[in-house]
């Protein structure tokens, strides 16, 4: 074996050993790119938004209720999308009703909650809804709650959509999931799924994508009809 080859093998072994030894800080560092957690500072609104049918951020209602108790003059803003098929047929409760119920159960009065209508499944749409509200209600500072790995992406959307003054008055609070966070995501299946998924969104954001509007959803009858029509209505 030549000296050059030996040297290459030693370097490779050292790199592999270093990666094994320092895998935790390396993986924590990778997750760090997904996280922006800003101090709440002097806030007067707390904003909760959906991610799919779920609230964005584990235990976001607990955190919102805590923030409300710390400052009872603040408002809770719900970015509630237009009802989807599931909500329209009554299979699930709407995000607004569900959030109101959960906040009320945590002793947040209904008068402190405002609903802002927005789009589903899109950070840009969430922030655009918030931007419209902030234009009508200038001078407010908002704490935007979201999942920990979602926070950098939402911050980026806020910086891209909001006016610079409004963007500075929106602070993103990153809520770790109870099953995983940036210190242990690689040990759990749901952790590495969330890590991978949010890295994809991050890359898409860097490449300038992701802001495309969601297509209008068909109602249940139209969906079923077009689904069957795809099989040329070969009814048995």
């Amino acid at each position: 074996m030549t000296t050059k080859r030996k040297r290459r093998i030693v370097v490779l072994a050292v790199v592999v050993a270093a990666v094994c030894l320092f895998h935790a800080p390396l993986l924590r560092g990778l997750a760090g790119f997904l996280i922006v957690d800003q101090p709440t500072g002097d806030y007067d609104c707390v904003c909760i938004s959906p991610w799919g049918n779920n609230p964005n951020g584990d235990r976001c209602y607990d955190v919102a209720a805590d923030l409300y108790r710390q400052k009872p003059s603040c408002r809770i803003l719900l970015v509630a999308p237009d009802p989807n098929r599931l909500e329209k047929i009554g299979a699930i409760t709407s995000f607004a009703s569900m959030s109101r119920r959960e906040l009320f159960a945590r002793r947040v009065p209904q008068e402190a909650v405002s609903v802002l209508r927005g789009q589903r499944w899109n950070d840009w749409a969430t922030v655009q809804t918030l931007a419209a509200w902030m234009r009508d209600h200038p001078g407010h500072s908002v704490v935007l709650l979201c999942g920990q790995f979602h926070s950098a992406q939402l911050r980026r959307a806020a910086d891209a959509v909001l006016e610079p003054g409004d963007a500075a008055s929106v602070r993103v609070r990153a809520l770790p999931n109870r099953d995983y966070d940036d210190t242990n995501w690689w040990t759990r299946r749901c952790g590495y799924r969330a890590f991978g998924g949010h890295w994809l969104l991050r890359i898409q954001g860097w490449l300038g994508g992701g802001a495309a509007a969601q297509m209008p959803e068909r109602n249940a009858d139209d969906y079923e009809r077009s689904f069957l029509q795809a099989f040329q209505e070969k009814t048995p």
Partner: protein, 232 residues
């Protein structure tokens, strides 16, 4: 040929390949999405199984199949509970599917919940295998989203073995993003791109990909050793 010249040619080739890919990237990306869809025409069956996830599409498609008499009864696998279900903020996913089937006109008696705590497509295939154990002649339509059909078919075939012939896959179309520009939408990106690593993971975890990779590694080592001996 000198080392630098070889490097230059490789760089040029790489640049040409990258430029070509960029020029036809919409076509490539569309093809990448279409490759995942292996849904078939439905055939007459006793059961239609709704895979969990995609609650805004899959159970609607399953209900349509039952109402159009492609299938008589609907199957839903019981699911494991994520945090929002544990906190009772949302009902379990199988319960959402059951509710949609009920609201869309499938009688309660015709909805069968397969017991277990399915967290993955693999778990759902195991639940169906248990259900089919004493129903050797039963035919099942499995309904899932278009981009999920290839992985589902792969894992169901793996788990069911010979009984996989009893099962066929029907695509429930996603209507929240267009397959023609899925890469521009957050949901589209998450649905399509994550399917590829999931397919690779399933192939390694439940299939023979790991063995194939190990065999290729051993072959590469042997080839390197032979080449070195010849050079010496």
């Amino acid at each position: 040929m000198s080392r630098w010249r070889r490097l230059l040619i490789a760089l040029l080739l790489g640049a040409v390949v990258l430029a070509s890919c960029w020029a036809i990237h919409p076509r490539l990306l569309r093809a990448a999405a279409n490759w995942l869809d292996v849904g078939e025409q439905p055939r007459l069956a006793g059961y239609v199984m709704v895979l969990n996830g995609g609650e805004d599409t899959r159970p609607f498609a399953a209900a349509a199949l039952v109402k159009a008499r492609w299938a008589r009864r609907a199957l839903v696998a019981e699911t494991a509970s994520p945090p929002e279900v544990i906190d009772r903020i949302l009902p379990p996913y199988h319960e959402i599917n059951r509710q949609v089937l009920l609201k869309r006109g499938v009688p309660a008696d015709d909805i069968v919940i397969l017991p277990g705590a399915a967290a993955t497509t693999y778990d759902e295939a195991v639940a169906l295998a248990a259900f089919l154990q004493d129903r050797p002649g039963a035919r099942v339509l499995v309904v899932t989203n278009d981009c999920h059909t290839r992985r589902s078919r792969w894992v169901f075939t793996r788990v069911l073995g010979d009984r996989a012939r009893q099962v066929s896959f029907v695509s429930a179309p996603t209507d929240e993003f267009s397959m023609d520009c899925w890469w521009q939408s957050q949901l589209g990106l998450q649905s399509i791109v994550t399917e590829y690593p999931k397919l690779a993971f399933y192939a390694a975890r439940y299939g023979c990909l790991g063995y194939w990779l190990a065999a290729c590694g051993v072959l590469a080592l042997v080839a390197g050793w032979i080449r070195r001996r010849e050079a010496a």
